[in-house]
């Protein structure tokens, strides 16, 4: 789910940046450091929406280095998978254990145990797709699927979620052909 929240971040500014453009430099550094980051609890920071001017308080001088530490508050657009939420995702890769799908930067894995019974044995290595017994449903790279989040793990700066398409109204939405490459 996408949401907006106010967060705070510490920026270390070297004296060379002091001067008239101090605030602009702070904002620029904040965006460079924080945008795209995966925060363990809050999710991916997609975009820094606003850095209110009055929220940039005075900095504290670090005596050892001479640099100044600013604690900046900013409003950010974040993306975080919530347990039991239903999302649409784009399939990127199929393997014998299941498939990977992405919601923007968020990677979701759906194992074959979380697929409907008639797809359990449906992995086709040649076509690189999961196909149902009646051949009606083909989940391949580029397809859109609707899935439910069951769990979440954070590792090495990336968030991976576990999903399922076993419940009613979940599963293949479109085959991705009309969309072109993702």
């Amino acid at each position: 789910m996408f949401y907006v929240k106010t967060l705070s971040h510490e920026i270390v500014l070297e004296p060379v940046h002091f001067g008239q453009k101090l605030r602009a430099t702070l904002v620029r550094l904040l965006k460079e450091q924080v945008e795209g980051l995966a925060l363990a609890n809050y999710g991916y920071v997609v975009n820094v929406i606003e850095v209110p001017e009055d929220q940039i308080k005075s900095g504290v001088i670090e005596y050892d280095t001479g640099s100044v530490i600013f604690t900046v508050q900013y409003t950010a657009l974040l993306l975080r998978p919530f347990i039991h939420e239903v999302l649409d995702a784009v399939v990127s890769q199929c393997n014998p254990l299941g498939f990977f799908a992405f919601v923007g930067p968020l990677r979701i894995f759906v194992s074959k145990h979380s697929m409907p019974e008639d797809m359990f044995n449906g992995f086709d290595g040649e076509k690189d797709a999961w196909i149902s017994d009646d051949k009606e449903v083909v989940i391949a790279s580029g397809s859109g699927v609707r899935l439910k989040i069951k769990g979440r793990t954070v590792e090495q700066g990336n968030i991976t979620a576990i999903g399922t398409i076993k419940d009613n109204y979940l599963g293949l939405i479109d085959d991705g052909e009309a969309q072109g490459t993702v």
Binding site: F2, Y44, V46, N47, I83, D88, G104, R146, D167, V182
Partner: protein, 155 residues
């Protein structure tokens, strides 16, 4: 460390988001598309590169928003979406006890993301289980509000 989904401190199906997420503002995909578009224009005007995560999210929201119409005036679509969100947030239903029920922001966002013109009550409740606290007629009303907005935007 995998979070234990069987002991949910967090369970969006029951509208429990966790104590840190009580005061957040939840957005639907369509609204995110609007924000990113504005931000992209701003960055381009300052000759900045858009980072990877940003571009991935933009591709995602542009693909999965049912409420868009490239032929329509951008501002018109934005206004329709704002009206829809206001209508859903302001939706109130009196229960038998005389108490008022309203839609949680997570439900409003999920409804705007997942509902299409042919979505029926059964599907909506399957996808968003917390809606089951409303009577069927109320859910139908909610779906109707969304349906008419989609039709207005797409036509």
């Amino acid at each position: 460390m995998v979070e234990d989904a069987t002991a949910p401190i967090e369970n969006v199906a029951e509208l429990q988001l966790g104590k840190e997420f009580q005061d957040i503002h939840i957005l639907s995909n369509a609204q995110v598309a609007v924000i990113l578009q504005a931000s992209a224009g701003y960055a381009v005007s300052r000759d900045e590169e858009l980072n990877d995560v940003y571009r991935k999210v933009q591709r995602y929201v542009n693909r999965f928003t049912s409420m868009t119409n490239p032929e329509k005036e951008h501002q018109e679509v934005v206004d329709e979406l704002d009206n829809l969100q206001d209508a859903l947030s302001a939706f109130r239903k009196e229960t038998e006890d005389g108490e008022e029920q309203e839609l949680h922001p997570a439900e409003v966002a999920a409804l705007m993301n997942l509902v299409a013109t042919d979505t029926m009550v059964e599907e909506a409740v399957a996808l968003i289980p917390s809606l089951s606290r409303f009577p069927e007629a109320a859910i139908d009303e909610i779906l109707d509000i969304i349906r008419s907005t989609i039709i207005r935007i797409v036509s």
